[in-house]
Symmetry: C2
Subunit: 409 residues, 2 copies
């Protein structure tokens, strides 16, 4: 009899975005003439830039000629892309990452989701709260999360990040083995300074813990004391895996390219205490269950680092950051407390008058016809907040802000 992985039955439905869609559709049906502005989902809107488009056309042509056609490539990514990544994202920071420490993939969602494959089931997992739901869901599937009790998973260690602690996660009191950190943060848009991140690296070194560092929003960093890579922190190359993505950096949400860095100096342990390189385990996983990113897409990713590509991409990031600034200012002028949006496309708004996040969501939808994402959807500590994104058009962003002025709460 075919048995299922029963951990899957513990997962609640992916309620958040379907519930938002249901509410928006219901409102739209009742108010067909309303002009709804969507600042909810974190998807980019700007097209791929000319340098990227040009690189892809060239690669497409290569795939059509026998002499330049490419079949199976290295699962870890072509050298032309890996070397370009190292040069621009690491050497430029003075960091030394080897070619066999980079694994090109189809997305940071895939990699942060699949990384658990190589890790034991008895590890204690810590997540900051609120959090990107994939970290939790994939640990539920693996059986590391325990049971869902009053909105929390019994075996996970929740590290609240709220205005009370200025969104700076405090070290857990219990010992933990795996720590997910996402900075600049999704959903709060907040960051850690080098000094604040060092506290976690030191903890991991001391406790032989592993930091899974999601840097998908690195391109939005504007402040000089915010690290662009966790490997800027001394000792991190012994305890951290870094996930990076072209999705938000270069508008690749529908183009799909990312990479994961596993220094050969990061070790895990067998129960009997034997040290094993996580790089070699991930290499085995990556080459066995994955067949590489399309050649055409790897050429697109490479083009992001050309002089022309960099200039074009920076202009788009600046555009989104300007939207973020407009939203921040608009909300601040309404005496709302606003976080993030400086090194991030996400603005994290404290709900006024102790409204719940769903109440504030409903208010914005019904009174201002603006859609956000209720913070409670990202975890218990997201209650009392709402996420807005800077990925809209300039017109829509300005229009949303002009509607904020009509807020009467």
């Amino acid at each position: 009899m075919i048995l299922i992985n029963e951990n899957y039955t513990k997962l609640p439905g992916s309620y958040l975005f379907s519930e938002i869609a249901r509410k928006v559709n219901e409102f739209k049906a009742a108010n067909p003439d309303s002009n709804i502005i969507r600042l909810g989902i974190g998807d980019v809107t700007k097209p791929l830039t000319p340098a990227i488009i040009e690189a892809m056309h060239k690669a497409v042509d290569e795939m059509g000629e026998a002499s330049t056609f490419r079949g199976y490539g290295p699962e870890q990514g072509y050298d032309f892309l890996v070397n370009t990544i190292i040069e621009n994202d690491y050497k430029a920071l003075g960091l030394d990452i080897a070619t066999d420490e980079i694994f090109v993939s189809d997305g940071a969602k895939s990699d942060t989701g699949n990384i658990g494959d190589i890790l034991g089931l008895d590890n204690i997992v810590a997540i900051t709260d609120p959090v990107y739901p994939v970290y939790i869901d994939t640990n539920v599937m693996a059986g590391r999360a325990g049971e869902l009790q009053n909105g929390k998973w019994s075996k996970l260690v929740y590290i609240p990040c709220t205005e009370e602690n200025d969104f700076i996660p405090e070290l857990p009191k219990e010992k933990v083995d795996i720590i997910y950190l996402c900075y600049p943060n999704n959903p709060t848009g907040t960051t850690l300074t080098r000094e604040q991140l060092k506290v976690w690296v030191d903890y991991a070194l001391k406790n032989k813990a592993l930091i899974l560092f999601d840097g998908a929003y690195e391109a939005f960093i504007t402040e000089s004391d915010v690290p662009h890579s966790i490997y800027e922190i001394e000792g991190a190359k012994e305890v951290a895996i870094e996930f990076r993505s072209f999705s938000k950096t270069a508008g690749f949400t529908g183009t799909r390219c990312a990479y994961t860095v596993i220094p050969k100096t990061v070790f895990g342990y067998t129960k009997s205490g034997e040290k094993i390189s996580l790089n070699s385990l991930w290499n085995r996983r990556h080459t066995t269950k994955f067949n590489g990113v399309p050649y055409i897409i790897q050429r697109a990713a490479e083009a992001c680092y050309s002089t022309k590509g960099k200039t074009e991409i920076k202009a788009i990031i600046d555009f989104y950051l300007n939207n973020a600034k407009i939203i921040r200012q608009g909300l601040t002028e309404q005496n709302l407390k606003v976080y993030g949006g400086v090194n991030s496309p996400y603005i994290w708004v404290k709900t006024p008058n102790n409204m719940t996040s769903w109440e504030f969501f409903d208010y914005l939808l019904h009174e201002l016809n603006v859609v956000g994402t209720p913070g409670a959807g990202f975890g218990p500590s997201g209650e009392g907040y709402l996420r807005l994104t800077a990925f809209g058009t300039l017109d829509n962003t300005k229009e949303a802000v002009s509607r904020f002025k009509k807020m009467s709460i």
Copy 2:
């Protein structure tokens, strides 16, 4: 302390292709003027066809314009592709598959590797032998394979497919829960008729077992009694998951697109006997750990089904099948026993004079300068065979055959 998944430590190195490469390089170094013909690795050589190239150029342009740009798409694939797949690969066979039963992905390797995620660890797994190594390795990683003893995994059930049984797998004596079937087969190139496949579907129905049916080589089928989909067999929609790929069909080994079919009528069970739809579990996995295939690549896959695309692709398949025929004839004329190559790009050669597969490999390399793949690399029952592929150029294929005439064993 960070614990690893210790199942990974049980995996032997991926010895086969690295050992082949080592031997070839060694020979090449000693004989720099030799003209080596490689008929070993199963990668295509023909470029993508004009219809596909055209579709990709168009899609690339769409990604460069705000009005046609695509961000996140549905993880399961765009309707335009899913509907085209259903129309051409299923409706054309008189089979009824629903849009939410198709999951577009980046490869059959990924899907056959990841499918175990949703299945329990206590299932007994059966594989035909010889076999595509990914089925075994991913079960080792999950912990379903037991220990490696004398070249066999203790908990796996091996079903030998050799000339003794005409490469027709016999039903196992013990009860099994998961059965991997790959037809047309990699590595043997052999097939099952509808009647022969029905035996397995009936077994699965009777024993509540699950068939994982890998149809990656479907496009090479030429004989009318060979099923193009397992769903042609009555009852299969209750017990089978089908994996399909554009890799060998349309030369997508470096372009990456595939799909998996999970009918909503395929169920798994909890230990307490509750029936759970595997479609819903896979949907949860696919949307949580994957973010869809690039839009551009999905348009490329769609183009494979246009009138022009179909004609172009058929010409390439016919070209490879003609190579296969040339190799078969050449070897048969040397009084070698040859299997496969009629509905498959793979030719499975019985080694002469009871040579081991590595001895025959060495002979071909050293005496004829032709590289094959030793059958022993695909499992115990592959000993005494060697795999040749039809993916070479016509000139190389003919040259290989003319060298076979010099065989003196």
